[in-house]
């Protein structure tokens, strides 16, 4: 990749990751596998288009009246024995959770994979308060033990192959608890078994569980977690206290609305007719599951996103990650390049809206796309990601990068020239007459890079309009 500045911010971290051949092989293998499976799972339902439209409209209508639905949700969770907290930003959410954990007297918690808690960096905040958070999802465990960062919404360790996972487990499990079995092999089945043994002792003694949620139903106060491994069930069922941190956009108005999303989500994410385990709970139940339930409703930039007429559709996202799996940029750059817990196409429109575009990476995200539109096509709630990308590009450009100033000046000069035929003719004739003096390559470093691999067009002997006048 050259350093040519073409008026758009470069995608800084992709420069290294696109050269990492092992990473690219891992990603290509994984994303292609899931792509084909998803297409088959979706093809089984001949009403997919109707389900997708219904999913889109339910979300749009919910967002339009989000205040009412959240108030109703709060009432129903409270009536069912839960406690609802509201967090305007990450710091407030982390403080609420840390205080709740400290109030139990516990020093460790088990966690279900949750994008919201990653977004607010809850584990780090809890560590600062002396509380250890154990990730229990297999991929999250790989990331946590490997002191790594997640690179995919659904499969955070997608950048690791089985051999790498084996090495991490063998080296690190002992530091966190039960060590990996002697002579651990690298088959996924053996690795899953090692994780089962390692985590079981943590589940059985856990007193506090922390989760997110895929859906919250306003009319019933029900939360829903969709998962595969059973670590979610463990965290949601065995501890005495459960704390769920959930973005405010996850609310659905009615119980019936689940019939749409429980068909859209599993087929889009893991390409299954249904994921192995889905847990539903409404407040607390006598003698079944946690005795204390806290719901932390998280804003953290979501209301800013909601205020953007074009950008608010990103809040329809149900975090299925189908858009990552089909994206040519994601497949080559990997998730880490996006500098956020939300990678891929959805991350490219969500992160700059949640966080703003002050940093170089965040400003580059709307440009980290070819606008090919594959993401829009697979999105189960029809988020027009290319539309939002272009919209966000405008916003970044409005803030006036130097390249864009030059571009605007050139376009202004060009417009003036095309509006003044006499001047245009004079310039054309002058350009034709000086043909012999034209350089083959452009001067200045930026322009030279452009002509490194391209020929400049040759000017004709006479401008077309002069030739036309003569030859007519």
């Amino acid at each position: 990749m050259s350093d040519t500045y073409l008026g758009m911010p470069s995608f800084p971290q992709a420069k290294a990751s696109t050269r990492d051949t092992r990473l690219r092989a891992n990603l290509t293998h994984a994303t292609r596998t899931i792509r084909d499976k998803r297409a088959r799972a979706v093809a089984e339902l001949d009403d997919w288009a109707q389900l997708r439209e219904a999913g889109k409209r339910i979300k749009d209508r919910t967002l339009r009246h989000l205040d009412d639905h959240l108030v109703q949700l709060e009432q129903n969770v409270t009536a069912a024995g839960g406690t609802v907290h509201w967090a305007a930003d990450a710091a407030e959410a982390n403080r609420i959770v840390a205080d709740l954990v400290k109030a139990t007297g516990e020093r460790e918690v088990v966690k279900v994979k949750s994008m919201a808690t990653q977004e607010i960096e809850l584990n780090e905040a809890l560590a600062a308060e002396g509380i250890t958070a154990y990730e229990t999802d297999l991929a999250e465990l790989i990331v946590q033990l490997g002191e790594d960062r997640p690179s995919h919404i659904l499969v955070p360790a997608i950048h690791r192959n089985r051999g790498e996972v084996r090495d991490i487990f063998a080296a690190k499990m002992g530091e966190w608890g039960r060590p990996a079995p002697e002579g651990l092999g690298d088959s996924p089945a053996e690795l899953a078994e090692a994780a089962r043994l390692h985590l079981r002792e943590k589940f059985l003694r856990a007193k506090v569980g922390i989760s997110g949620a895929n859906f919250m139903v306003a009319e019933t106060g029900t939360l829903v977690v969709v998962e595969s491994e059973g670590n979610g069930r463990m965290c949601l069922t065995l501890p005495e206290t459960l704390i769920s941190v959930v973005g405010i956009e996850k609310v659905l108005p009615t119980w019936r609305d689940l019939e749409v999303f429980l068909q859209l989500l599993p087929r889009s994410s893991t390409a299954e007719r249904m994921n192995p385990y889905t847990s539903f709970w409404t407040g607390t139940s006598d003698g079944d599951g946690p005795r204390n339930f806290h719901l932390v409703l998280l804003d953290n930039g979501r209301t800013d996103t909601l205020a953007d007429e074009v950008g608010r559709q990103a809040l329809r996202c149900i975090r299925c990650s189908a858009c990552l799996n089909v994206c040519p940029v994601y497949e080559r750059a990997g998730g880490h390049a996006y500098g956020s817990v939300y990678p891929g196409p959805i991350g490219a429109i969500l992160t700059p809206q949640l966080r703003g575009t002050a940093s170089a990476v965040d400003a580059s995200l709307p440009f980290a796309s070819t606008l090919c539109g594959a993401c829009y096509e697979v999105c189960p709630v029809a988020i027009d990601i290319p539309e939002v990308l272009v919209h966000l590009r405008e916003q970044v450009v409005e803030r006036d990068g130097p390249g864009h100033r030059t571009e605007r000046a050139v376009v202004r000069a060009g417009s003036w020239l095309l509006d003044h035929p006499a001047a245009l003719g004079a310039v054309e004739r002058w350009a034709s007459r000086t043909r012999g003096l034209h350089p083959r390559r452009l001067p200045t470093a930026v322009a030279r890079a452009w002509t490194d691999s391209r020929d400049l067009p040759e000017l004709p002997e006479a401008p077309f309009r002069d030739w036309w006048r003569k030859s007519r």
């Binding site: 019936r256 299954e272 249904m274 139940s285 599951g289």
Partner: protein, 214 residues
């Protein structure tokens, strides 16, 4: 519910939402023109589909009549070599008439490590969804609290085919009570976290056996 103070995060968030959407148009209405079911209304085919989809996700499926059920349960437990069987309240006594394994009751509620020491758990269910190969537990009679079907490594679940099988997710939800804790189970515990390759058996029961009775 306590009334939150003015200027609390609750009020701030709600005010920000109202400001964000106040000028937005009302989005189009939700058309529920998707299918209620993707299957023809044929109970025998539905049952075949349920069995096929359960098996596709690596559940072990058995089919028998009500009279055969005790013997089938006895055989499954014997073949697995289970010595202890967790039996939630409400499991019909005659289901157990074909086995002599030691029964474990959840009175008083068993601690997680006790549940971990049990070989198998036997339950009924609330309903089963054919299109997705799903069984639904709602802590009703014969199902017990959620932990009972989670910690043991072997879950044996009985589905009454006459009245517990529905075709689809849209047909399942109206029959379920949202105030009850629910677990929807589609095959044994699985993961796709390593190279997006599906592997059965992580934290939940690694063996799920479903008996379709009727």
């Amino acid at each position: 519910m306590t009334v939150p103070a003015k200027g609390s995060s609750r009020e701030r968030i709600l005010a920000r939402i109202r400001a964000a959407v106040q000028d937005a148009a009302e989005p189009p209405p939700v058309l529920r023109d998707y299918r209620d079911s993707h299957q023809p209304d044929d109970p025998a085919r539905l049952l075949d589909l349920l069995a096929a989809n359960l098996a596709d996700y690596r559940a072990v499926v058995h089919r028998c009549t009500g009279a055969e059920l005790p013997a089938v349960i006895g055989r499954i437990l014997a073949e697995r070599g289970s010595r202890t069987l967790l039996v939630p309240d409400g499991v019909p006594e005659d289901w157990l008439s074909g086995t002599a394994v030691e029964r474990v009751r959840d009175h008083p509620p068993l601690a997680p490590d006790r549940l971990d020491a049990v070989d198998s758990v036997l339950t009924g269910c609330a309903l089963a969804v054919a299109e997705t190969g799903t069984i639904v537990l709602d802590a009703g009679p014969g199902q017990g609290r959620r932990a009972l079907t989670l910690v043991p490594d072997h879950h044996l679940c009985v589905v009454r085919t006459a009245d517990q099988v529905v075709a689809s997710v849209p047909q399942a939800l109206p029959r379920l009570d949202p105030s009850r804790p629910q677990t929807w189970i589609s095959g044994p515990s699985a993961t796709s976290d390593i190279e997006l390759d599906r592997v059965e058996g992580v934290h939940g029961p690694r063996t799920l056996e479903v008996v379709l009775v009727g």
